[in-house]
């Protein structure tokens, strides 16, 4: 049910041309997917998605739109080639899922590599009940550290791009910064 709603939200995102509406729809889309994650037992992920996708990212998009203007002009070329590429790729992916094990089956191979160990042993080894936290911070500490560094690097990138003085580049033929 939620998945169907999500599909509808995705289609609406495609059609709408006013970018403010697009950003709001993207927020709704994030919130719906957070609901879906809750249903699929990923409470930590749902929490993050709701805070990030529906909160901060909407604010950032609005900030960017205030600088960029909010109207999208009609695409200049025909949509046939992209549509063809998308349909072919989608068809191949659906064909690929035919070999995938069914949804929610406890015998699926994903559940029998290291996940067993995390669930059965982490309480003795780490001593905290939330398995996601113990895997995140302890078993996969390196991952999380690299990822924290990536987030920091992104902030440095945005700083380089946006913290400099305005209008350093010469404007091409009086177009000016119309924002």
């Amino acid at each position: 049910m939620l998945l169907t709603l999500l599909a509808a939200a995705g289609l609406a995102l495609l059609r709408v041309r006013n970018l403010f509406a697009v950003v709001m729809l993207a927020g709704i889309y994030s919130l719906l997917s957070a609901g879906l994650f809750t249903v699929m037992d990923a409470v930590d992920v749902a929490f993050t998605e709701a805070a990030v996708g529906a909160g901060i990212s909407t604010v950032l998009f609005l900030g960017a739109l205030a600088l960029c203007g909010h109207h999208e002009s009609k695409p200049g070329h025909t949509p046939l080639l992209p549509l063809f590429v998308v349909l072919v790729t989608g068809g191949l992916l659906v064909w690929g899922t035919m070999d995938m094990p069914g949804f929610g089956d406890p015998a699926n191979p994903v559940h029998h590599h290291v996940a067993d160990h995390y669930i059965e042993e982490s309480y003795h080894e780490i001593g905290i009940p939330n398995v996601v936290t113990s895997v995140l911070a302890s078993y996969r500490g390196y991952d999380t550290m690299g990822e924290t560094t990536v987030v920091f690097a992104a902030a440095v990138g945005v700083m380089i791009l946006l913290a400099g003085r305005l209008g350093r580049r010469p404007q091409p033929e009086g177009k000016g910064d119309g924002g």
């Binding site: 998945l3 999500l6 599909a7 995705g10 289609l11 995102l13 495609l14 697009v22 950003v23 993207a26 889309y29 994030s30 994650f37 699929m40 990923a42 409470v43 992920v45 998605e49 990030v52 996708g53 990212s57 950032l60 998009f61 960017a64 739109l65 960029c68 203007g69 999208e72 002009s73 695409p75 992209p82 549509l83 590429v85 998308v86 349909l87 790729t89 989608g90 992916l93 899922t97 995938m100 949804f103 929610g104 089956d105 994903v110 996940a115 669930i119 309480y123 009940p129 939330n130 895997v135 995140l136 990822e147 990536v150 992104a154 990138g157 945005v158 791009l161 091409p172 177009k175 910064d177």
Partner: protein, 126 residues
């Protein structure tokens, strides 16, 4: 047979549909902010694929219950991977938006076609 397949693979197919919607937005729309939105849709669909794989029917969230041994938990590993992926996703989104803002300041537009036209004109005059 086919109904079974529909029920057990419905998740994957909707995920693929959403992925393709994001992909289509990404390659067919010229507006750079819209492209970033498309990228986000694509990204979220990948998150959903991972979380779908981690779900166990009848399982509970992977937060251990005191004293109970025969509780069925969903797989925590995809959750961890996606948790970090979401935060990296917002970081990359912010870099993309910052690039869009700078392009707007340099060219006065964020439409791909118009940027190409301006580039062609400046090349011709040089």
């Amino acid at each position: 047979m086919s109904l079974d397949l529909l029920v057990s693979h419905y998740n994957y197919w909707v995920v693929i549909f959403l992925m393709m919607v994001g992909f289509y937005i990404l390659i067919s729309r010229g507006n750079l902010v819209k492209k970033v939105v498309g990228l986000n849709v694509f990204q979220t669909s990948v998150f959903m694929l991972y979380i779908s794989m981690g779900k166990v029917s009848g399982g509970t969230p992977p937060i251990l219950v005191y004293g109970e041994t025969d509780v069925l938990y969903s797989n925590p590993l995809p959750h961890v991977l996606i948790l970090t992926a979401i935060v990296v996703g917002i970081a990359t989104t912010s870099v993309g938006l910052a690039l869009a803002v700078r392009i707007k300041e340099a060219y006065g537009t964020i439409e791909e076609d118009e940027i190409n036209a301006i580039e062609a004109r400046t090349e011709a005059t040089e």
